[in-house]
Point group: C2
Chain length 420, copies 2
């Protein structure tokens, strides 16, 4: 039986999910794209229709308006659309509402990031258990499948760990997730995701597990250089990130789990100005004219819409997981990674690579729920699932998996394509 | 007969004007401080009262609320307070309203900057005649004294030109006004005046008269270094500014009139970020949540209140006029200037030097209207008036006038204090 899918969120990632679902009418019977702003949904549906994908007869693709902060509205929407799988690519502040609606209706739930409370910054590490994990027992009781953090990072990078654990290592000591965008969008400054989420995330304290201890550092206070396949050397900064929490729990014996992101000097200078001046403040301030404004909302209104960056984006992203451990008593070190080209993803579905790499994996997850492979009737993070069918679905949709083996010989390395 | 003064505007400059008027109860019978925000007036009056200045018996100092965009309100206020002299240190967008109310009531008018239309950026040069100068004939007809641009720059720097023309030169070829703040307020970024005015002004095209031609350059596209007395070498950038307009008309034979302001690299980088990102936009934009916001208003709400900078401000300002011309057939070059120390002005009247140098001169002008010296019953710019009594009043209130003579001997220079 083909499944009815509900996508919630009509941003740049929502557009990728919509295109990839429309390319998958062999698996999905219908797709509803919902957002508080139905005009954005309709614009995405237009862009999908312009692509003239060959769809199976009877496939339906339509839009609905929804207030994702209102669980009752979500329940009504899920029921009226006969949704079996919800792909949540909306703001992370509504995760618990959408998960609640899935628990109420029995629909499967997929998201790509951990829930956050808008008013809380720098929650103490680790924090996955603050929200979603509290519903783990209830998912099991009700037989509801919930796949948490199924974007690229978190998501695919977690599957790299599951693969490494199962097929490459006897024991894993450290995991360093590294995310670098070697592309150029041509704007003076832009975020690649919703600035409200992205800029908050970047200025939060950088938390990580190191040598078995949870540690927190001021943002951008720790950096390293890394020479990546294809995109070359980049400077990376330690950041807090969702996958650090679940991997530290789900990869047995791991002592170090860190997340690193590449930033250029110009980007960091702009960020410094925004932060020091108070433009990243997400609380209301009063202007001289008595207007109530949220500085971060004003900044967001000034910045390019991330969804608008795609046509001119050039270059590639590289996101990977550097894993160190033992195999047969020997030290082993692998970078499992993907290279994604902004121009290739634009040619495919009008998207830039960052939204593409974030939006394809939840569609792969939805396909694996539809096929039964990942339909566990329980709440899981991606590293708890079989990575092989995930890599296969990703490769079919344009996301390859490669391995850079740094332990082959001292001072040399080898590269192999795992799935493409 | 002592005069009743009305101060309109309760910002950092308004506070200076208020303090200096309260120190001048021998000249002024009463002072009313008016603003749309009467609480700001009352806070200034409190700060004046705390100083316990010795005032002449019967001297009155009080606040009133006024909407300075409403000429009728202003007329009512001037009449009800029996005001004879209005000191306008409000936003420049209301100059024509306040001037109109003075024309209606016969009160003398003093301002410190040229009127601007909020919606107009980069008006073609020269632009003094666009607003105030249209009322010149009417002032003469009605016998209303209006002294335009009587702050420091414009204002005192114009008097330097009048002095040079009268006492130092046979002919003046070029005038370069140079404004540098060597002080440190300790904040990451702050403007010293209302950010809304200051940041607009800074990103406007830089217009000037050069070799008898009006020329316009992109902002910050022309710079020079200059070695100032006391504060040393600074990098200065060509800017458009009010005094360029009137001096080009009122100093006979002058071929070049330019305005230069000192900026540090960090300040310019912040300005670049604000401008390129769109945060200096003074038009309304709509946020993702549907809120209507003016980016420049939001930025202003985030920045320190210029009035709050004074307590921690260290260092000095130097503002002067570099004048080149002929005397007795020989080349002559003088820098007429003032040095002002942030800590000294704070000790005097709780002000930083930039507000102090802007706020003391209109009080000097008001005293000269009260004494009759400058009560010409006509509209004039400061360079059209006798500079000597102005220098005397300024010196009494803490603003000295000095001369750096660069033509004394080739390769050497001499310094003399004119008024202190």
């Amino acid at each position: 039986m083909k499944k009815n899918v509900l996508i919630i969120g009509a941003g740049a990632v929502g557009a990728v999910v919509a295109h990839k679902c429309a390319q998958s009418s062999d698996v999905f019977a219908s797709v509803c794209l919902a957002s508080k702003n139905v005009a954005k949904c309709d614009a995405i549906i237009d862009s999908v229709n312009k692509k003239n994908y060959q769809t199976v007869a009877g496939f339906q693709f339509y839009s609905r308006e929804v207030n994702a902060y209102n669980t009752e509205d979500l329940v009504t929407l899920i029921r009226s659309t006969e949704t079996q799988i919800v792909i949540n690519v909306c703001t992370v502040f509504v995760n618990m509402n959408i998960l609640g609606a899935c628990l109420e209706t029995g629909a499967a739930y997929i998201d790509t990031a951990v829930h956050e409370d808008y008013s809380v910054m720098n929650a103490p590490y680790p924090w996955y258990a603050n929200y979603e994990w509290k519903k783990r027992e209830l998912c099991k009781e009700k037989g509801v499948t919930a796949i948490l953090g199924s974007g690229f990072d978190p998501g695919v990078v977690n599957a790299y760990c599951a693969y490494a654990q199962k097929y490459e290592f006897d024991s894993i000591e450290s995991i360093d997730i590294m995310d670098v965008n070697d592309g150029d969008h041509g704007h003076y400054f832009s975020t690649n995701f919703d600035p409200e989420i992205n800029l908050r995330e970047i200025i939060e304290d950088a938390g990580c597990l190191e040598d078995g201890q949870w540690r927190t550092y001021p943002h951008h206070s720790r950096s390293m250089k890394y020479d990546f396949p294809e995109v070359g050397e980049h400077k990376l900064y330690l950041m807090g990130h969702d996958e650090v929490h679940s991997l530290s729990k789900n990869i047995p014996g791991v002592k170090t789990v860190r997340f690193w992101m590449g930033f250029g000097d110009h980007y960091l200078k702009c960020l410094e100005v925004f932060e020091k001046v108070g433009l990243l403040n997400h609380e209301t301030v009063t202007t001289n004219n008595g207007e109530k404004v949220v500085p971060l909302h004003t900044l967001k209104a000034c910045l390019p819409d991330p969804a608008s960056l795609a046509p001119k984006y050039k270059g590639k992203t590289c996101i990977g997981t550097l894993i160190k451990g033992k195999r047969d008593g020997q030290d082993k070190e692998l970078l499992v990674y993907n290279i994604c080209d902004h121009e290739v993803t634009y040619a495919d579905i009008d998207s830039q690579a960052i939204a593409f790499t974030a939006g394809v994996p939840p569609v792969a997850a939805a396909k694996l729920i539809a096929s039964g492979d990942w339909d566990l009737k329980a709440m899981v993070n991606v590293e708890e699932l079989d990575p092989i069918p995930f890599f296969e679905r990703l490769a079919e949709m344009g996301i390859s998996t490669e391995i850079h083996d740094l332990s082959a010989n001292k001072g040399s390395s080898s590269n192999r394509v795992l799935y493409a």
